[in-house]
């Protein structure tokens, strides 16, 4: 079996990017998974429809936290529209576990997690919170 714990994920878990205080953000949305008690808050700061900053804080498993961290990296600097597109692609990629290519290569680290439907929510928690923040 393919371990879900790829080096990239572990790196983001141990050294989360853009994690911390959300006080300075324009909009903050919370995602929670009542089934495991995980909670992630995602905050954004936009300038002329461009995501100047994406940050998060919260608690969750390694996959959940790494996903939030990777997401914040992937989306910072995108336009709102681009970020929304990326979120759509990410969700679609998780729904179709046969499809090969991830929307962007950094997300390839989640390839193995897609084979574990029970972890899907861990990965997507931050993404869905971001989607709501963008809405």
């Amino acid at each position: 079996m393919d371990s879900v714990y790829r080096a990239v994920l572990l790196d983001h878990f141990h050294n989360p990017r853009n994690k911390g205080d959300l006080d300075a953000m324009d909009r903050v949305k919370r995602g929670s998974n009542p089934r495991c008690g995980d909670e992630i808050e995602v905050g954004i700061k936009t300038d002329k429809k461009v995501l100047e900053s994406v940050k998060f804080r919260g608690r969750g498993c390694s996959i959940c936290l790494a996903s939030a961290s990777i997401m914040s990296e992937c989306t910072t600097g995108l336009t709102v529209r681009q970020a929304q597109d990326l979120i759509r692609q990410m969700l679609a990629w998780f729904d179709d576990t046969q499809a090969d290519a991830p929307p962007v290569t950094t997300l390839a680290a989640f390839g193995a997690v897609r084979q574990h439907p029970a972890r899907k929510k861990c990965v997507l928690l931050a993404w869905i919170a971001l989607d709501e923040a963008l809405a």
Binding site: M1, S3, V4, Y5, L10, F13, H14, R35, C36, G37, D38, G60, C61, S62, I63, C64, H116, R119, C122
Partner: protein
């Protein structure tokens, strides 16, 4: 009707059981590519050949509708279905097999009593008591019926070691209490509750008690007469039996007071345009075509467990849990919830490792063939009490062995290695 004479728990414990041989009764341990360290029996147990064969054999050679036909297949189906009921009655030492109702599950059985017994008699201001460690299946039905009837749901708190704190349960045996619904064994902590004492006191105040035996009946001797409970519920699939069947035991007088949850074929004597006349107990509570293969599989599981001996099973599982407790407490950062190792507990151990999420522990363990659970285990009220959102849980059955504990230990160490800073 059918009287049960043999006592379920009267067999003297033989000196020793060959549990290595017994493990071979479970085909799944031979059918996995990777060695399977199955430590999730509290969720659902594995099945021995004799249970699987009973079910397959029923469908292959004996299958017919129960309680409805006059031809040989149907007659033998009815007879073996009722014999299965007797086997289960003996298994819990029910005075009569009429007091044993086949349900879909422990969950259905609790819902039946909540809506069919408690529902019609709860008045505003009445109280139903349960404990902080109840499974959602023994919590939500009471929450609903109390809300619907304007009654109060009261909760027996726990002390720091996960035992009932009866002293703080003020009013438990008070005049407002209509029912106490309580688990015999916690599916998270492994705590064994002192039901004899509670029921003893409850019965002095004429308060009926429902026992959730989902985690006990396959793991220790359970005798409804010596317990003197009014109701007891259990599921087959947690005691080596098939999915989709459980039992409700109820004292005859209590069952006579209970409205059926499901109405339909087989539970009615006379259908009239306004009102209808229910059949006798237990048929009254078994609307729809009876689950023949399920009942036979359930009885085969009870026979199998009875043959090993529940004293022996209890001892074995306690030994395994005690050993695992020791191993786990030796690992840095591990917290084990529930009774400490000097107290009697069942084969269930919940734990956390500081800095690691239970999901990650369970996932990494799973990748290594160690099947443990992570989550709230359908016990959110207990999680709230513990101030956590989830635990990892290893639950032992008599078919587990020391190697499973070693594998669990390695998996935890591995988790720390992979995810450690």
């Amino acid at each position: 009707m059918a009287r049960v004479s043999a006592k379920a728990t009267s067999v003297a414990p033989p000196d020793s059981v060959d549990f290595d041989a017994i493990r071979k009764d479970f085909p799944i341990f031979n059918n996995s590519a990777q060695t399977l360290h199955y430590l999730d029996s509290a969720a659902s147990s594995q099945k021995p050949d004799c249970v699987i064969d009973t079910i397959a054999d029923c469908y292959r050679s004996h299958y017919g509708p129960v309680h409805r036909g006059l031809y040989p297949l149907a007659e033998s189906a009815s007879e073996s279905y009722e014999k299965a009921r007797q086997t289960l009655a003996q298994f819990i030492n029910a005075p009569s097999s009429d007091e044993v109702v086949f349900t879909r599950s422990a969950t259905e059985a609790i819902n039946l009593i909540a809506s069919g017994w408690a529902g019609p008699r709860l008045r505003a201001g009445d109280e139903i008591w349960l404990s902080q460690m109840e499974h959602h299946s023994n919590f939500l039905p009471w929450q609903r019926v109390c809300r619907d009837r304007g009654a109060s749901l009261r909760v027996i708190p726990l002390d720091s070691s996960g035992q009932l704190n009866l002293e703080k349960a003020v009013g438990l045996f008070g005049s407002k209490t209509r029912l106490i619904a309580i688990t015999q064994v916690s599916n998270v902590l492994g705590t064994i509750n002192p039901l004899e004492a509670i029921i003893n006191q409850a019965s002095r105040h004429s308060i009926p008690v429902l026992v959730d035996a989902a985690q006990s009946v396959g793991h220790m001797p359970v005798d409804v007469q010596s317990l003197n409970c009014d109701f007891l519920v259990a599921s087959a699939h947690k005691m080596c039996g098939p999915n989709g069947i459980g039992i409700l035991y109820g004292k005859k007088e209590r069952l006579m007071e209970t409205e059926p949850l499901l109405l339909g074929g087989g539970m009615v004597d006379q259908v009239q345009s306004e009102n209808s006349l229910w059949a006798d107990i237990p048929a009254r509570f078994e609307a729809g075509s009876p689950n023949l293969a399920g009942a036979l599989g359930f009885a085969a599981a009870a026979d199998y467990i009875q043959k090993i001996g529940r004293h022996q099973i209890e001892q074995r599982e306690q030994d395994l849990a005690a050993s695992a407790f020791e191993v786990l407490s030796g690992i840095d950062g591990v917290t084990i919830y529930g009774p400490d190792n000097s107290q009697k507990r069942s084969g269930i151990l919940s734990f956390n490792i500081e800095g690691f999420h239970p999901h990650d522990i369970a996932q990494i363990a799973g990748e290594r063939g160690v099947a443990i659970r992570a989550g709230h285990h359908c016990c959110q009220p207990l999680m709230q009490h513990l101030g956590i959102s989830s635990t990892a849980r290893a639950s032992f059955s008599f078919y587990n062995n020391q190697e499973d504990i070693t594998a669990l230990e390695s998996a935890i160490l591995e988790t720390k290695k992979i995810l450690g800073a």
